[in-house]
């Protein structure tokens, strides 16, 4: 048991490294105090550098559709994690956990993405100073 726990804790320590690899600082764009969950229908995907973007139609409290823009890491970074362009299918309902833009717009950092099939993928930019 001790050995298993040591390995687990070591894994957490590795995952918590502070690499500086990102295109911009998390804090330059997003508010770390505004953690949110957005659930919506995928309407558009831009698998581009320096970040991928995907767009959701989200029902607000009144039932009206509101458009959200979700920013993730670069295509190369996501691919290295096994998150591929084909994982995002138009029309899918997906859940995005992340942080809202500081300017209050419907833009968010897609830190954790739950795909329609239930898989959870990491969407954040490693080393941008944001929550890992």
């Amino acid at each position: 048991m001790k050995h298993i726990l040591a390995v687990l804790l070591a894994s957490v320590a590795i995952a918590a490294g502070t690499e500086v690899l990102a295109h911009h600082s998390f804090a330059a764009e997003f508010d770390a105090s505004k953690a949110i969950r957005v659930t919506g229908t995928l309407t558009k995907v831009e698998w581009t550098n320096p970040h991928i973007y995907f767009y959701l139609d989200v029902k607000d409290d009144t039932g009206a559709l509101v458009k959200w823009t979700c920013e993730s890491a670069s295509p190369g970074a996501l691919s290295r994690r096994g998150f591929k362009r084909g994982d995002l299918k138009l029309g899918d309902t997906i859940v995005v956990d992340g942080y809202r833009a500081k300017n209050g717009s419907n833009m968010m950092d897609a830190r954790r993405v739950t795909l329609a099939d239930g898989r959870i993928v990491s969407g954040g930019s490693a080393g941008d100073g944001g929550p890992q």
Binding site: V12, I14, T18, V20, L21, A28, P50, H51, G127, G129
Partner: protein
């Protein structure tokens, strides 16, 4: 103590690791690696000089990342009053130039966490960077700096060999839209950089960077760094930084908070909502 951990505590730990695995499990090719020992000598070119060519990756031991004051006590840069004012300006009135797809230049690229590639020729050496940027440095001990070099992000760079050390001496830098590191520290057009590149063994390349800037810094200081060699099939890929820079319209000034460990980022962010438990697929 470990033996007394409750089942729920262990479950939480495992859940935490599972969440971490989301980040790490598929990263077969991380952009940085732990340092390692080398058993092979540095390769040499036909002329007998060390061959610096290779795909170079930062090490996890390089801390704090992205901070040009890494080797100074408390990471405290010796700023002049003008340098302090320039730093304040960068923090409060400028967007990170790199996030706007402007060349990072030198010495910022030496403090970057991203891999880079060196291609060394007999009379010229090329440094290729992550965002599809490059610099070309002539290796010619007879060349002298211009009287009034055209300002640029990498400066007017002159290379020469001193024994097994490739020395790159650079002046003629821009003083607008430049951050000297990820933390928005400044440099002026008086910047003078002397890089001393060596390949101590097959698996490592090393630089000693001397930074002089009498306008913004009271005295010269150095930044040292070692990288490890990537796998033989690793190389830079296309990265068109300005392809779809949607974020540019949302970026604020400065890098945000600098943590006590010298890196940029928040100390205590709000936690994300808990992950959604994955339910078994009823069709299977």
């Amino acid at each position: 103590m470990i033996a007394r951990l409750s089942r729920s505590t262990i479950a939480l730990l495992i859940a935490g690791v599972a969440a971490s695995a989301i980040l790490t499990s598929a990263q077969e090719r991380p952009l940085q690696e732990p340092d390692r020992k080398s058993t092979k000598p540095a390769p040499r070119t036909a002329s007998g000089k060390p061959d610096l060519s290779g795909y170079w990756k930062g090490t996890r031991e390089t801390k704090p990342g992205g901070n040009i004051g890494k080797d100074l006590p408390g990471w405290k840069l010796p700023l002049t009053p003008a340098g302090e004012a320039a730093l304040t300006h960068n923090l409060t009135a400028t967007i990170d130039p790199e996030s706007l797809c402007i060349l990072g230049g030198i010495p910022r690229h030496n403090a970057s966490g991203l891999p880079f590639e060196i291609l060394q020729g007999a009379n010229k050496v090329a440094f290729l960077y992550w965002y599809s940027y490059f610099r070309l440095i002539p290796i010619d001990p007879k060349r002298k700096h211009s009287d009034d070099p055209e300002p640029s992000f990498f400066g007017e760079e002159l290379g020469r060999w001193e024994g097994d050390t490739l020395v790159i001496d650079s002046i003629g830098f821009k003083d607008e839209k430049v951050w000297i590191d990820e933390n928005a520290n400044p440099h002026s057009d008086a910047l003078h950089v002397v890089e001393r590149w060596t390949r101590p063994d097959y698996d490592h390349v090393h630089v000693e960077t001397l930074i002089e800037d009498s306008k913004f810094y009271t005295k010269p200081f150095t930044y040292s760094r070692t990288w490890v060699l990537g796998a033989p099939d690793e190389e830079l890929q296309e990265y068109a930084c300005s392809e779809n820079n949607v974020d540019a319209a949302h970026l604020g000034f400065g890098p945000g908070p600098i943590r006590p460990d010298g890196t940029r980022g928040y100390i205590d962010p709000a936690p994300l909502p808990p992950p959604i438990p994955r339910t078994p697929n009823p069709s299977k």
